[in-house]
């Protein structure tokens, strides 16, 4: 499952070279829906959010925003263009990958694709674009301040991985962005957003004009995914935050181990789906306590995250850990069959819109297994769901869900001191 938005995945079709007008090279994925009125156009990149030397936390966020906000050859910026079209623009940065995407009326998609590739394949970051990017990244950091689930997620990754991109929060504190030099941002953007590192993900209404505007795919990127090094023995730490909470994280199977990764997705859905998850339903009796969980499918390894927030979060700790431990025993056949059907529905319900499909196709391709994206014509993901059985799921739980990394958020007072 992809991180945060958990928006499912898209069918991925690696189009043949002859399909496109002559252009340059990168991986192209597409899911066509002639009945859709809009088209989602996205570029995904493998790039460490803290920079290639891991010394500039937040640089990928600023570089994305600056590229989006800088005017292209004296005309409009990409953000201005999408805004004028009444479309949606999305920029997202994760520890090891980044993306920019737009959902626009189908007729406008070719122009948006040309503008997007023009902006990103040869990024020219202007002073004005840089200024907007720092401000925008600051807003993102400020809004995250009160998002305890995101705060926990970043802290858990930092605790679980001793080295590599996952050790660093992709959106660090606001002050960090002002420290990043424009020249460094330009250098990062030029390296990270190069054509040969780009995954073009398209979904929705794909017109002939759009196909003509698509760059020629080469079928492979010139750099592998960026992995991080897990700690040998996960530990426990605490941090101050505006909202109290606690979180747990376990390393899980890599994306290439599709059956085991799907089993972890199943476990996360069975326990933590916002509507039907057994833990979530039980947690509703607790006022002022919110629970969430998901398996994050990564190149190697994946991560199961569980976050608890609110004043009564501590009351959920033991029930949550007990529920996770209980997955080491096989579910009875009837419960399992029902849960698997529910799981399949949840997965498919998250890939309804062009943007959701393009998001997931891009995510799985960037993490190194494009065909594993749910909805792919190969049906790799659905076949993996169908291959699950109670014994295998329990075995995966026993293998991976042992000692978690633990983070406790201690509520800080408005003045900045920590409440005890």
């Amino acid at each position: 499952m992809m991180l945060r938005a958990v928006r499912g995945a898209a069918a991925v079709l690696c189009l043949t070279a002859a399909f496109f007008a002559p252009a340059r090279a990168q991986l192209v994925t597409a899911h066509e829906d002639p009945a859709a009125a809009t088209t989602a156009v996205e570029l995904w990149y493998r790039a460490p959010s803290a920079g290639y030397d891991l010394k500039s936390p937040g640089i990928a966020r600023v570089a994305l925003a600056a590229t989006v906000a800088s005017k292209i050859a004296g005309g409009s910026s990409l953000s201005e263009m999408v805004n004028r079209l009444g479309g949606s623009l999305s920029i997202q940065v994760f520890p090891d990958i980044s993306m920019v995407g737009a959902n626009v009326p189908a007729g406008s998609a070719p122009a948006v694709l040309r503008a997007m590739t023009a902006a990103f394949f040869n990024p020219v970051i202007t002073d004005a674009g840089m200024k907007i990017a720092v401000q925008d990244s600051g807003v993102a950091a400020a809004s995250q301040l009160y998002d305890s689930a995101q705060t926990l997620q970043d802290a858990l990754f930092a605790e679980l991985f001793s080295e590599g991109p996952a050790h660093y929060a992709p959106v660090p504190a606001t002050a960090q962005f002002a420290k990043i030099a424009p020249a460094d941002v330009q250098a990062f953007a030029s390296r990270a957003f190069r054509r040969s590192n780009a995954i073009l993900s398209i979904a929705g209404n794909v017109s002939d004009a759009l196909k003509a505007a698509e760059p020629q795919p080469a079928g492979a990127l010139d750099a592998p995914p960026f992995d991080s090094t897990p700690v040998v023995t996960p530990g426990e730490t605490s941090a101050s935050a505006p909202v109290p909470g606690m979180g747990f994280a376990w390393t899980g199977p890599r994306i290439a181990d599709t059956r085991a990764a799907t089993a972890m997705d199943f476990i996360a859905d069975y326990l933590f789906d916002p509507d039907s998850g057994t833990v979530i339903r039980a947690a509703r009796s607790q006022r002022d306590a919110f629970a969430g969980g998901q398996f994050v499918t990564l190149h190697d390894p994946g991560v199961l995250l569980v976050t608890l927030s609110g004043g009564s979060a501590a009351a959920l700790q033991q029930p949550v850990l007990d529920a996770v431990s209980a997955m080491a025993q096989p579910l009875d056949a009837a419960t399992f069959a029902k849960a698997r059907k529910v799981f399949l529905y949840h997965i498919l319900s998250q890939i309804q819109t062009p943007m959701q499909r393009a998001d997931d196709a891009g995510w799985y391709a960037a993490e190194g297994n494009a065909q594993y994206a749910p909805g792919d014509p190969s049906d790799t993901y659905v076949n993996a769901i169908n291959s699950l059985d109670p014994q295998f799921v329990a075995q995966v739980a026993r293998t991976y869900l042992q000692r978690p990394a633990v983070v406790r958020l201690i509520q800080s007072s408005p003045g900045g001191s920590t409440a005890t």
């Binding site: 002639p34 009444g86 999305s90 009326p105 809004s143 059907k341 529905y345 309804q352």
Partner: protein, 434 residues
Amino acid sequence: MRSIAALCGLLFLACAIAPAGAAANFSVTRVSGGSVVRQDDPVSDLIGTQMRISAGLDRQSSSQNGLAALVAESILQTPLDGVPLADLIAGEGGSIVYDVDPHDVRFYLEGLPASYDAMLGQFRAALARPDFSAAALARARAALGARIVRMQQLPLTVGLQMLNRTFYTDSNAGMPPLGLPQTLAGFVSADAQGFYSAHYLRGGAVVSAAGKLSGIAPGSLESLIGALGPGSSAPIKVSLKQLPSNTRQLIARRDIPVPWLVAQYKAPDLQSRDFGPMLVLTSFLERTLADVAGVPTLSTATSGARGVGATYNFDTQPANVIVYVDGGGNPTQVFATALTIVNVLGHAKLAGDLSDMKTFAIGRFLDQSTTLRDRAWLAGTFVGQRLGPDYAAQAIAAIQKTTASDLQRVAVRYLGFPNIALVLPRDPQQNASP
């Protein structure tokens, strides 16, 4: 006089706009006073069906506040083989939810194609024979109570509910959609059965399905309308006092961090020639408010995450436009700015190219109609108001033919004097009662 394009600071987009090449496959059939709309999308992974029944708030008498919601919730709680309908459908790989609107109740059933016929059969069974036993009503009350608590934490919803109470003056369409805990507590099985028998009828019912419809057996959708009784019902006429012109502000206090201002204007119906111009004006207001008062972000905020915005509720009659501003800054000042812009729109001599405004309006309309649920709702709404099912084509055509004089006329006619709701943070000294 400066042209509207210059006035708004909008730049013409130098790319050709061909908004929708969508090849949606629509069909409509009429069944016993109701309609079935199909929107086939073979590459979709799921099927979603909305069923609209004329059993909304305006069917409630003044002593039936919440009864429409209690009946709808009871249908979801109706046991089939001992399992409530909602849980049964979830177990089949689907979901069922409902909304209670001023005129209608709208159920939405979504699920996997492989088991969708079974889900339709289960929904049909509960719809035809709902359980209004004391136990079922108790479960329904509990579920409604939890939803009411959640809704009261949403300032926009609170403001809208206050405004609706004064907006509809000839029926109870403006009652709280889910009622109040104290009114729900007073209903017994006979009340629910009576409301169901009187209003769950085929007349005006619309079933609108979208997605991989090849997974549905012939007649399955029509059978939902067959589950209802014959005939049709009418709103219950009441006479409610309008707000005097000098008291157009409503105030409520809730446990929220910042104040919210919500304004409501009357708006043209879907069938009106002013529909297109109002779509353009509403999207223009939305963008202007975001420019003036929104938190500046490059990524487009979801509607639920926006602190300012404008919404055109064209699926109700009379239609209305809602403008809302949260109090991150000064909501009154921001709103005054928006009113000024509307005033200029209404009274300046408009000229110039409206292409940019139209492009933006089309983009917003299409961007907000991408989920199966949205698509089923839109097709059902258009057909329910005796229009064709291809909502996108009609909305785009209405926007495209809008002229500057249309905008001016519609701004003057509709965007004059709104009713305003202020939702304020609760005074810490105050009791926690609503």
